[in-house]
């Protein structure tokens, strides 16, 4: 499969996913990946999309000798216009850089296939402060079917989002985990999910669950006193609470914010509770509950919609507590630190190459 730029008049293949080929017409810079894939591209696109790459990396070689900017090796045989292209080494895998470039240039964007690669792509875009590209990638991700963040991927996406400091994805994935399990260490062990992330990230996810449950319990308490249940109509249920709510309904709602169940609404579970209640006889009169038996289905659905809205409105309120997580958990993965670290490493390599052995101090690490 190959994708050809619609913007170029040249008929030659510009990009090709099989061999990670990216050869833009009139390229004026070469980006070299960590695994030595070279991408011939136009500098102006890079500069336009990333202030960091523009300011810190794409600097003329002579102005900052200790940065990663090097000349193409073929220059030693006699420079030509192609040979003298500036080459910039980037600490990114070829497949990820290829995908990133497909979002920068006017070609068909290519999203990596695995959650790990997609998260790495997002982290790289965030690292280089490519805001527009980041938005573009996220829009593309949102179009995926099945959803990128779903039950099967939520946990690993959350883990990677914490690792890379991607708050948006961390929050989306954390919300997705709410419906998965009751969140105990034993359950995570049996699900094989205990070793996926460091304890710090796990602790924050647990705290997020706790906050959501606590908030939900509070909101649903309010929901019960705010007459939300009147959508079901006047109740003459055989078993009412002191507040006048059918006891089976009160019990069902009270489990939603408890630690005994995942934070998710399940209409079937709700309907099962109603059915169980209807089938029970009043011990005093030996009658079944005629009031709940005769609730019209449109009223049941209206009530369900109100309850769903109450839960859906409650969960996002925990966002504020959660957005600090990435900074606290993974300071080491913060974008600028990654970039500066990689630049620093290359600077050190150059220094080591040029320094006299006698000037180096022995260091044990």
């Amino acid at each position: 499969m190959s994708t050809i730029s619609s913007m170029t008049s040249r008929s030659a293949t510009v990009i090709c996913v099989e061999n990670l080929h990216f050869d833009y017409p009139d390229a004026d810079i070469i980006l070299r990946s960590r695994d030595s894939h070279e991408f011939h591209v136009l500098k102006v696109y890079i500069l336009h999309n990333s202030p960091i790459l523009g300011e810190e990396v794409l600097i003329p070689p002579n102005s900052l000798p200790s940065t990663s900017v090097i000349l193409a090796e073929s220059e030693v045989d006699g420079p030509t216009s192609a040979d003298t292209l500036q080459t910039v080494e980037l600490p990114i895998d070829g497949a990820i850089l290829f995908s990133l470039l497909s979002y920068i240039f006017p070609v068909t964007p290519i999203l990596p296939s695995t959650p790990e690669e997609i998260m790495e792509l997002l982290s790289v875009a965030q690292m280089y402060k490519m805001d527009i590209v980041l938005t573009h990638i996220r829009s593309h991700i949102a179009e995926q079917n099945p959803s990128f963040i779903r039950k099967e991927t939520a946990y690993i996406v959350y883990s990677l989002a914490q690792k890379y400091g991607l708050r948006t994805e961390a929050l989306q994935a954390a919300r997705c985990t709410l419906s998965l399990f009751t969140f105990t260490i034993r359950e995570l062990l049996s699900e094989g999910k205990l070793a996926i992330m460091p304890g710090a990230a796990l602790h924050e996810l647990w705290k997020y669950h706790q906050n959501v449950r606590s908030n939900l319990a509070s909101d649903l308490k309010e929901f019960r006193t705010s007459q939300g249940y009147v959508k079901l109509g006047d109740s003459n249920c055989i078993s009412l609470t002191d507040s006048g709510i059918p006891r089976w309904l009160d019990a069902y709602i009270s489990t939603l914010g408890s630690t005994q169940a995942p934070v998710s609404l399940d209409f079937i579970a709700f309907y099962m509770k109603l059915t169980e209640h209807i089938q029970c006889k009043n011990p005093e009169t030996d009658d079944k509950c005629s009031s709940c038996t005769n609730i019209p289905s449109d009223k049941i659905h209206a009530f369900w919609d109100t309850l769903t809205a109450a839960v859906d409105n409650s969960i996002p309120k925990v966002r504020a507590q959660f957005t600090d997580v990435a900074d606290r958990v993974h300071n080491l993965y913060r974008p600028n630190q990654i970039l500066r670290s990689s630049l620093w490493e290359r600077e050190q390599r150059l220094l080591v190459k040029t320094a006299h052995p006698a000037t180096r101090r022995p260091t044990l690490r």
Binding site: I185, I196, G199, A200, L202, A358, P362, L364
Partner: protein, 274 residues
């Protein structure tokens, strides 16, 4: 040290003047390092060769005190002990490491309780101190392993360390269940002491244990099966046993069960002590 011929610099810039020969003799790592060509000039205080180390001054001070014939300076804190052991492991100072472990054991250091036991286990894992990992894993068995009880100690865990500890506790749980089943089936050495309680008729032909004891361990098995702590807290385990025994003795005036209990509480040791 007098006549020192090398300076070790800690991560917090404290200098330790020591003898290269002592380091070379004790540590293959130092021996290999000093076998490489050394610089002959540079910014060296007093003309001595300066070696920068990653350890802080407290750890280096303890390490050096273990290498020389002076009173060993072993830290009191859990973190200090683990850091010292990690340093001895890093520099492959095997004899010193053994001495430290012996001294720690003799002085009963490294005996954390509650969530601290989990944290120390996690730190030992991060430093790959296998004996301390194993010891602390056993140490945690006295405490519940839940998010609530771990609290901030969870921050010290790497994912694999948490999984391994949970697996270990789960295997203990399974072994304990297995032992209790053997006890209930009168197939182990402990159950024979309880055979013959005259106050309760046996409920089944297979089991001749007192009914209260059978009921107690059946409940325990059920708790083990559904425990979110992965292993139940031993004090709850024993409290339930004592209450059941007390109720039985009070109700039936059973001298037999009281005597068996007084003679050594033979059931209670099963599983937990192992």
């Amino acid at each position: 040290m007098p006549d020192a011929d090398i300076i070790l610099e800690s991560s917090d810039s404290i200098h330790f003047r020591v003898h290269k020969s002592v380091l070379v003799t004790s540590s293959p790592v130092f021996r290999d390092m000093f076998s490489l060509p050394q610089p002959t000039c540079g910014e060296f205080p007093d003309g001595l060769h300066l070696v920068h180390l990653y350890e802080n001054a407290d750890v280096l001070n303890s390490l050096v005190s273990m290498l020389y014939p002076v009173t060993p300076d072993i830290p009191d804190s859990n973190d200090g002990i683990l850091a010292l052991l990690a340093a001895t492991q890093k520099y492959d100072v095997v004899a010193v490491q053994s001495s430290i472990r012996a001294e720690v054991s003799r002085r009963k250091l490294l005996s954390p309780t509650g969530a601290e036991a989990f944290r120390v286990y996690a730190v030992a894992c991060s430093k790959r101190l296998f004996p301390e990992m194993a010891a602390m894993a056993c140490h945690t068995l006295g405490y519940p392993m839940t998010f609530e009880s771990l609290g901030e100690a969870l921050w010290s865990f790497e994912g694999w360390a948490l999984r391994d500890l949970a697996c270990f506790r789960l295997s203990c749980n399974i072994k304990l269940s297995s032992r209790i089943n053997l006890f209930l089936d009168c197939c182990d050495e402990y159950s024979k002491y309880w055979l013959g309680c005259p106050r309760y008729a046996c409920k089944s032909e297979k089991s001749r244990l007192p009914a209260w004891l059978e009921a107690h361990f059946t409940r325990t098995l059920e708790e083990l099966r559904k425990s979110t702590h992965i292993i139940p807290m031993p004090h709850m385990f024993s409290t339930d046993y004592l209450m059941s025994l007390q109720a039985h003795i009070n109700a039936k005036h059973c001298q037999f069960c009281a005597r068996v209990h007084a003679l050594g509480e033979p059931t209670f040791s099963i599983g937990i002590q192992e």
